[in-house]
Subunit: 362 residues, 4 copies
């Protein structure tokens, strides 16, 4: 039998095994464990079964891998981790309408309740009962995953899976960048990790006059440049504030996209922000920081927005539009690919700071 790689249309139910390989946080300690005999999950009402093609590593996964305080307080082992996932739908529950067997999908990682006030008013991204795939329930470092049909975003069969695997993460970039109007504006991005680098491409596509980026990793700044940054600054070597003020004729930037969580970067960003400027905060600080509300916000008449996840599913439609039209090209973002067996090597690569996105294939 020859089959097109992106299609599973005529999937034979008997091809779905009962057991699968998976990478677990098996116990409350650093590291992960790979097993071969995990049960392929049953479907709850409204769920679909996805045969995973690829899953990429996120900073959250690294916290769980290392088993830091946050992880210890949040994760109940054993659980399969991984929440940036792409694959093919191979089984659907009765009454599922929108998603069909054979659909090539990316997964939204937030499972929302649909019944709280936020969900019922188009703001599911701040659902008060959110469960996260790969954190609160089994994730995608496995051969199969069961998720609510609602969480499956159907891609064009033509999309490469090295792009589709990025969708969840790209959603953060799009939500942050498009939280304010950018047309003809100067934009500063602080923190050029993967989400930041993708946000640069979005900001350029959305009409930013110029995008500046700061990071302490030159590797990342190179990737930022590849993704469209007009100028990059490494605060370890460069005068960030002076450089940006000079690049903007002394005016400063109209928009700050904060993705570092680093107090010094936050401070620099607000310093170069113009009066009446807009700030989108996605980065998380390690702890509360010393913050100058007067000069950063009040006197500047700044507008500061917190960014939670992605809008469900307004952001996904925007992502699709930007990718389909070719306005944003994410090709440079996946720099490394490993098999599921190589998970330790994959995490080391991601941790090194000299990678873009790192992808695992089951």
């Amino acid at each position: 039998m020859t089959s097109a790689p992106n299609q599973a249309q005529s999937l034979d139910e008997t091809e779905i095994p009962q057991m699968m390989r998976a990478v677990l946080k098996a116990e409350a300690a650093p590291g992960l464990t790979k097993v071969d005999d995990y049960l392929v999950p049953d479907l709850g009402p409204g769920e679909v079964l996805v045969k995973v093609r690829a899953a990429s590593i996120c900073g959250t996964d690294l916290h769980i891998y290392r088993w830091d305080d946050w992880a210890a307080s949040r994760i109940n082992p054993p659980v399969i981790i991984g929440h940036e996932i792409t694959g093919d739908v191979v089984r659907v529950s009765p009454n599922v309408q929108r998603v069909k067997v054979g659909d090539f999908v990316s997964l939204e990682s937030h499972i929302i309740c649909n019944i709280c006030e936020y969900c019922r008013t188009g703001r599911g991204h701040i659902c008060e009962n959110t469960k996260i795939i790969g954190v609160d329930r089994d994730g995608g470092f496995a051969e199969y995953i069961a998720v609510p049909a609602q969480n499956a975003w159907v891609n064009s069969p033509d999309m490469p899976d090295s792009i589709s695997v990025l969708m969840e993460n790209f959603g953060n970039s799009v939500h942050t960048a498009l939280a304010q109007d950018l047309a003809g504006k100067y934009v500063l991005l602080t923190g050029a990790g993967p989400v930041g680098c993708m946000a640069i491409a979005v900001a350029k596509a959305a009409g930013a006059r110029a995008v500046f980026a700061t990071d302490i990793s030159d590797y990342r700044l190179n990737l930022a440049t590849t993704m469209g940054a007009d100028r990059v600054f490494n605060p370890l070597n460069d005068d960030v504030v002076g450089g940006i003020m000079e690049a903007t004729n002394g005016d400063g930037v109209d928009v700050l996209l904060e993705m570092s969580g680093a107090p010094s970067a936050i401070n620099q960003g607000f310093t170069v922000l113009k009066a009446d400027g807009h700030v989108a905060l996605l980065g998380l600080t390690a702890r509360p920081i010393n913050f100058d509300l007067n000069n950063n916000i009040v006197f500047k008449a700044a507008t500061v927005k917190g960014i939670a996840g992605r809008k469900l599913w307004a952001t996904w439609y925007k992502m699709q539009n930007l990718l389909e039209s070719g306005q944003v090209d994410l090709t440079p973002m996946v720099t490394h690919e490993f098999t599921l067996d190589q998970y330790d090597e994959a995490f080391e690569t991601f941790e090194s700071g000299t990678s873009g996105k790192v992808m695992l294939r089951p």
Copy 2:
């Protein structure tokens, strides 16, 4: 001749003296000095001369009175202080069109340049060359004051001058309260000083479902209640967070109007803010504070706006509308009135914490 108190239509130029009484910050030290032989100011191009009926004391005046670090770094004595001013126009420069001799006016305290980008785009409230009356040039604790015609807001002759004297300050209240939609929403005001108390009345007029207020002064909380607060909390005695969560059925508030500058109040305010809530920051903190960006802004997807002054002159039109229609009644706000000679007593009263606005009449 008998004349209506609010009119100076047929003003005889010869009635304007050459010398006037004024209260000065005469030297770089605490206190003020009253003199009788200050020159009635000449008019620059586009300026008007206003015979002061009343001027009220603002927190800024108190800083100057006490001569604290901020005052010492900002004020160049000698200067007449006072920037909340109402009076009658008695002389106008050639080419002044909108304002006429006899107009009964309130004064905007920010003198803007009209030529910077902010001024030329309807955002004069963040003009980069702002000069402040009573700080950067002579103010209103005097018999006469010269100001750009642009800064004179023409009131109805029927408005009591105990209301018109409040306009500048009321502008802060209106700008802060109307920085976000309030219809049907729960609003928390932290810091029930005069600006806060007036903002309560604005929030109620603008359709707030309920307004809660916090302050450490019971006097102020009483005034807050008079101005329309539905429930008030004194953090010295009350469980603010618990009380507000209970009053909102566990949901928290939709909007926070922060006017205290106090870290504990700011913290309480953000704690009870709903997800997707809106915050308007007017209060100034004494110094940078320890602030939890993650929980206060990012995870909540909050929108936080800094509030600078009043919009010039969009806020003034809104003020006029709210007062003319009777939607807001500021009558309870002026609790004390003194003559210019009694300036020390006036400042003591204002400093006591058991006053609303304190007004001086020359």
Copy 3:
């Protein structure tokens, strides 16, 4: 057995009959037919069964009653009509979570698909697959109705059912009135039918400086005044344009809420609209009209919004807030109440133009 009128908590399944009374559009002709032997509907997946307490008559029902061109083109008899419905949930499908047996509910009349782009982006009010209760499927002029659980809005048990029956209709009023900021603004409502009269109360609650209303029925203008209109105008007798210009000191109104669909009213409304004014269009015209885009929209730099239904369910939350807080009181709106048997009399009353809302009780 004595039971509290608003509760059905311990409902005994055996109490639900197999047959019920209902008022049908039985055939493609004017009039309606009452039958006693209609099957109590079975529940589809995710549906709930509601025992109807009351249903009110809407203009749409009148079109169906009269069997005009629109009705003939849209309705497939036999169908039970009526879509403004309140009652008690007496049976729920498996897996329904939010709604419970015993809940006292109002029904949203638009059944949406949840899977189109609009539904998935918080804009279900413009779902491209909308089905309407009482039009596309059986409605509420009956003893029981089955609807998707999603369409049941749970009220406080304390709400009178003469208020809860209005919720669907009130949603149009709230959606229209709150489509723009109203604080401190002059508002003109053209077309003071029930939706218009309720919108007046909303506009006043949301801070309108004054609300003017026009209608050709003095009965309705009286109701408009009861609901809070500051001035009313009957174009048959009054100079609408002149009167409104005079009432606004020659400025005109900031906001137009158009609910008449009458070309002359639309024209008057746009004529008195200020430059940069906002218009919310809910009224439907009988056919395309002669319209001056230049003077009505372009030169005025007006913003005109079409209003479709109610936001699902953002508008419902706002409705609840405005009613619970007492900011809006709909008590005067239901002026007539009939039994289901009296449906002809009820329609005649509604058609007479001398009624507010007319309510039927099974």
Copy 4:
């Protein structure tokens, strides 16, 4: 002395003559008259004298040239026409600060009063006392023109005057295109005259996913393509509605920029507009049109904005940003250049429909 062509820094006052050449609407009849003995205008308070380098022809000028009903009702001959003007400042009134002798400027054509409510709230583009250069007072088809300093926008000396002459007109394009968010959206432009063609470039720069354009002139559609249109349609030959629906996968467009004033184009534009779509109306219809408010606006929940002129001066800053950054290139727009003597030939060329902008040099 050799001097750079764009500078007049050390201008010798004696070089300014007393008489100048100018093209007049000399009497109430078709055509224009050129004279050599027009007085170089004196400066009023706050005005500057500009030595005209170039002025381009606008549709309004053509109305005046032909002397149609509108022109006859609006213009009081004799008056110099022309309102799209660029040149060098050669004289300034006392107290003028922002503009200096030697500045290379483009002129805003709307002279606003600065004292009406609109002017004082950052909405001078709808000033109720607007006077238009070349309509209400002498314009720029002349060697010199006097204008309020406020109306002179200072360009970089490096800007070609074939670009700077377009600024006023380009402002309409920018104001219209940026009246709504365009990032990732489908945009339809109806009416690809010069303003439309420039708006295409703006929409692309602001992140439109694709821009479609319609016009009945193939010459203009070619220019539209040059300026960035992704697909163009000539309704004389093409199925506009079908073509656009097909190009958008049956969804229609998110945004309509209406610049034709043609009823058929307006109708087509609204027909292909998605629900919740946005419309910016700049085109003027010859007379009121038959318009379907129900289907065009109400059922679609569309937002329609009238566009008046350019924002003063927010739009000018955006224009500058888009041009300086190279995001928009207007080079292809000026297709013809004539001397002032050739005014008849210039108007014929402009009238032919086979030109972009037509420019006159004194």
